[in-house]
C-alpha cells in the first residue's frame, strides 16, 4: 500500500495524540510497529541509504536515552517499592514508571516525525505544501530550514576538519570537545545564515514566490487516498473521545 503525504501527516498527528493520551505500554507497541513499518509499507521506506543510517543511529541513541532517563528517575524520584538495588543505590518503582512513561512518549513523538522525513523526499514535501495552497513565503522558510537540517551533518564535518586544520582539539576528549564547541558552532551558525539568505534569494529570483505549482493527481487515486486520510483523522478523534471518557469515568 502506498501512502500519500496527507495520510502520512495525518498518521503523525494520530501518533502524537497517542503519545499524550494513551498508556505507555500501547505507545511502546506503536514504537515497535513504527520500527517495523518501514520494512512493510513502501511509503515509509527511508528515501536513501543515508536517511536509513541516520534513522538507525537515532534508534540506537534514542534507546540509550530511554534507558538512562528511566534509570536516573528511578534513582532520584523516591516513591513506591524498591525494584532494584545495585551496590548502595536503590531504584524506586514510581520514578522508574515516570521515567519510562516520559521517555517512551518523547521517543514516539520523535520517531513519528523522523520516520516521516526519512521516508519523504524534500521535493515531494515542498510540492505537497505548494499544492495545498500554503503561502509561498511559508513554504520557502520551511524549505530553507529543512535543507539546512539535511546539510547539517556534512557542514559540521566540514567545520570540524577546518578547525582541526587550525589546531583546535575537536577530536580529543569530551572536555577538549566542549572547549572547541564555540569555535565549531560560530562558523556553523554564521555560514548557515549567510547561505540560507543566498539560497532564499536565488529561489526568489527563479520565481519561487511567483505562483503556486498546481499538480493534480489522478481523480480515483486521490479519492482513495482522501478516504485513508479521513479514516486516520476519524481514528484520532475516536482516541480523543476515548481519553476524555476514561478521564470522566475514573
Amino acid at each position: 500500500m502506498r501512502l500519500d503525504l496527507s495520510s502520512k501527516l495525518a498518521l503523525v498527528l494520530l501518533l502524537w495524540l497517542c503519545a499524550f493520551l494513551l498508556d505507555w505500554s500501547i505507545n511502546l507497541i506503536l514504537i515497535t510497529l513504527l520500527i517495523l513499518v518501514r520494512y512493510l509499507l513502501p511509503g515509509y521506506r527511508p528515501q536513501s541509504a543515508r536517511a536509513s543510517k541516520s534513522f538507525n543511529k537515532f534508534l540506537f541513541y534514542g534507546g540509550t536515552i530511554v534507558f538512562l532517563f528511566a534509570g536516573i528517575n528511578a534513582l532520584f524520584l523516591r516513591g513506591g517499592d524498591v525494584v532494584l538495588t545495585i551496590a548502595t543505590l536503590d531504584f524506586h518503582e514510581e520514578g522508574l514508571m515516570f521515567g519510562i512513561r516520559t521517555a517512551v512518549r518523547l521517543l514516539l513523538l520523535s520517531i513519528s516525525i523522523l520516520l516521516f522525513f526519512a521516508s519523504t523526499p524534500l521535493r515531494d514535501f515542498i510540492r505537497f505544501l505548494q499544492q495545498k495552497g500554503l503561502p509561498p513565503q511559508l513554504v520557502l522558510v520551511l524549505l530553507l530550514t529543512l535543507h539546512f537540517l539535511d546539510q547539517l551533518p556534512a557542514r559540521i564535518h566540514q567545520v570540524f576538519v577546518a578547525q582541526e586544520a587550525r589546531g583546535a582539539p575537536v577530536r580529543a576528549g569530551i572536555f577538549s570537545r566542549s572547549q572547541a564547541l564555540f569555535s565549531v558552532v560560530s562558523p556553523l551558525v554564521l555560514s548557515s545564515i549567510i547561505e540560507s539568505i543566498d539560497r532564499g534569494t536565488a529561489l526568489e529570483v527563479r520565481g519561487f514566490l511567483h505562483k503556486p505549482v498546481p499538480m493534480p493527481a489522478a481523480a480515483h487515486e486521490q479519492r482513495s487516498r482522501n478516504l485513508l486520510t479521513a479514516a486516520v483523522i476519524l481514528l484520532s478523534v475516536a482516541i480523543i473521545i476515548y481519553s476524555v471518557l476514561r478521564w470522566l469515568l475514573v
Binding site: 521535493r123 539560497r199 520565481g207 505549482v213
Partner: protein, 277 residues
C-alpha cells in the same frame, strides 16, 4: 527579447546616515549588449546587481535611495520593489546556492524555473533540451545537480536562469571559482547570448571582462569612475591600477605579450579586436 537598461543618478544607502553603497550612478546599456562592471571589493558591484534584480528593494526596507532605473519599458523610481522575474535573471556569486535542492536531476532543476512560470509541459519540453545543449550540459541532464563540479554547477545555475528567457541577465562575479577551462566555456556562452539578452557581469578579472564586454564600467566607492568601450578602457589603463587587483593586470600584460609573440593565436585575435597590438 533583450532590453535596454538605463540608470539615472542612482544613489543607495543601506540606512539613513550610512556611507552610500552607490553614489550618483548614471549608466546606459544598449539592448543585447554586454556590460562588464569592474571595481575593487566593496565598490558597489553586487549592490548594483541586487538593485536591478529587485532583491535590494524587496529585502532591505531601510534602504534610502534616489534616482531612477529603466528596464525595457518599465521605469522604477528609485528602485524596483519586487523581484523582476522573469524580466531580469540574477546569477549569484556562489552557483551552488542557485540549486534548489528539491529536484533530483539537472533537467528537473531547470524545469523548476519553468514550473514557477506555469508554462505548459509541451513548451517546457521544447525549451530545456536546446538550452542544455547550448550550454554544453546536455550530457548532465540526468545527473544529480548537487554532485557536479564547480564549472558544471556554474553552467547549470546559468541554465536555470536562462530557461526563463530573461531580457536582462545579471552575473555576479561568475569566474570567481572557475578554472581556466571553465572560464573559456563561460566566455563562449556569454558571447552566444549577444543580441538575445542584455548582460551585466561584475568581475575582478580584467582579461575576462575585456573578452566578453562591449562596455566597461569601473566603480570605486560607489561612484562610476569610468564608462566606455574596452578600447577606451585599455587606453586609460594606468588610471585604474590602484582600484583593480594586481593579478588581473598581470594577466592583461601576459595577453598582450602572448598576442605579440604568437601570431594567429586566440590571444592575438582578441588583442587585435581590442586594438592592443
Amino acid at each position: 527579447m533583450a532590453a535596454r537598461l538605463e540608470i539615472q543618478g542612482l544613489s543607495v544607502r543601506y540606512s539613513a546616515g550610512a556611507t552610500p553603497a552607490l553614489n550618483e550612478v548614471s549608466v546606459g546599456m544598449a539592448a543585447g549588449s554586454c556590460c562588464a562592471v569592474l571595481g575593487p571589493t566593496g565598490a558597489g558591484k553586487t549592490t548594483l546587481l541586487h538593485v536591478l534584480s529587485g532583491v535590494l528593494g524587496r529585502h532591505h526596507s531601510q534602504v534610502v535611495a534616489s534616482g531612477s532605473i529603466t528596464i525595457a519599458d518599465a521605469k522604477f523610481s528609485p528602485l524596483p520593489k519586487i523581484i523582476q522575474f522573469p524580466l531580469v535573471g540574477l546569477a549569484l556569486q556562489d552557483p551552488s546556492v542557485q540549486i534548489s535542492g528539491i529536484r533530483d536531476t539537472v533537467y528537473d532543476e531547470v524545469q523548476f524555473t519553468l514550473d514557477n512560470l506555469e508554462l505548459p509541459s509541451h513548451e517546457i519540453r521544447q525549451r530545456i533540451p536546446p538550452l542544455l545543449k547550448r550550454l554544453g550540459i546536455d550530457h548532465l541532464s540526468h545527473r544529480n545537480p548537487t554532485t557536479l563540479s564547480g564549472g558544471e554547477t556554474q553552467r547549470v545555475a546559468l541554465a536555470t536562469i536562462l530557461a526563463a528567457q530573461p531580457s536582462v541577465l545579471l552575473l555576479d562575479e561568475p569566474t570567481t571559482a572557475l578554472d581556466l577551462t571553465a572560464r573559456v566555456k563561460l566566455h563562449r556562452i556569454l558571447k552566444s547570448l549577444r543580441e538575445k539578452t542584455t548582460v551585466v557581469v561584475t568581475d575582478t578579472h580584467v582579461d575576462f571582462a575585456l573578452g566578453v564586454a562591449h562596455q566597461i564600467v569601473v566603480l570605486d566607492q560607489g561612484r562610476v569612475i569610468f564608462d566606455g568601450t574596452p578600447r577606451e578602457f585599455l587606453a586609460a589603463l594606468e588610471n585604474f591600477e590602484s582600484v583593480l587587483p594586481a593579478a588581473s593586470w598581470r594577466r592583461v600584460r601576459t595577453l598582450i605579450k602572448t598576442a605579440k609573440e604568437q601570431p594567429g593565436s586566440p590571444h592575438q585575435r582578441l588583442a587585435g579586436r581590442l586594438g592592443i597590438v
